[in-house]
Symmetry: C2
Subunit: 199 residues, 2 copies
């Protein structure tokens, strides 16, 4: 049947933009995806599950992993490491699975540099006021932390031009439909499909 | 509300592949499209309507149009001219409408050269045997003409790598859904949407 080339999708966006919901709804439309689970040195929050939300590992182990190039990208944020385990990503791509990474902007730029064929999507809120409202309504962050996240989001917006696609999450239904269309269309690119013409 | 940049979509594919059906089904999902009508010097076939299927004009008028650069692209095929009137395309793009051209490979390459931001889609049949079957079932072409169209299709397949996207029309429902996803996704590209971040 039709052969195709697997693709790496990188999704970024400011904290509080509703990224996870959008991603998980969109991925329900696909069966051939591997959603990469990051490793981190921060402690698990209530409800977070090992291997589902993160791989929770020690600082020493993480730093050994960095030395051994076991991370596709990594970053340090609020004194904790976050990184994408390289092996699982590469293995799934080789098996023909598309892979999706939900990672920070710095990490995204590291991966795009090494894998220029990867597709990058930036999710933004309709505006900063709405982001502030959403961060506040989560009720998990202090005022200081919210101010910090907003300042960070403002800086992150400046990096949007480095991304291939831009999704404005004014409505989770629309936004996940948009991500679905992007993922589909990218698989219809000539490079992904050329094998079929080589019959 | 959200400002966006209009895009030019160029669709090509061998005669008999079912392009028109796929395009018209896909365009039903959009309200902001202008489907470009070509001009030609060939005679109208039974059922073809002026201004809907083609603008039917004389050879002299066409050649004057070429001289005055009134065509975005043109080609000569079976001793008849076919061309895309430039003015309607440019005016609709300026008004914010997306524009779709259903044109031959040579014309597509001319337009892409002048408008590198345009999006090109190549529609192919699942295989040449299926194309032959479809051409035969139309019952409009002689055996000679069918052989000619098949030889041409084979040559055209070689140009597929010049296109951004490849759609395999094994099923008109799937193919038009694929074209829909491509048209949607292209409008989510950063370049198309950046205006929203400039607020």
């Amino acid at each position: 049947m039709m052969k195709k080339t697997a693709k790496l999708f990188i999704i970024s966006g400011p904290s509080g933009v509703g990224k996870s919901t959008v991603i998980h709804r969109a991925l329900q439309n696909f069966t051939d995806f591997y959603f990469s689970v990051s490793a981190t040195t921060r402690c698990a929050r209530p409800g977070e599950k090992e291997g589902i939300d993160y791989f929770f590992i020690g600082k020493e182990e993480f730093e050994k992993g960095i030395q051994n190039q076991q991370f596709l990208e990594y970053t340090c944020y609020c004194e904790n490491y976050y990184g994408t385990p390289r092996k699982a990503v590469e293995e799934h791509l080789n098996l023909g699975y598309n892979v999706l990474l939900d990672i920070e902007i710095e990490g995204a730029s590291q991966v795009k540099q090494h894998m220029p064929d990867s597709v990058t999507v930036f999710i933004v809120p309709p505006d900063l006021q709405e982001l502030e409202r959403r961060l506040r309504s989560r009720g998990t962050d202090s005022e200081d932390k919210i101010a910090g996240r907003l300042a960070r989001a403002k800086k992150e917006f400046e990096k949007a031009p480095d991304y291939d696609y831009l999704i404005i999450n004014d409505n989770v239904e629309n936004a996940s439909q948009e991500l679905t269309a992007i993922i589909q269309a990218e698989q219809f690119r000539y490079d992904c499909r050329k094998a079929v013409l080589e019959v």
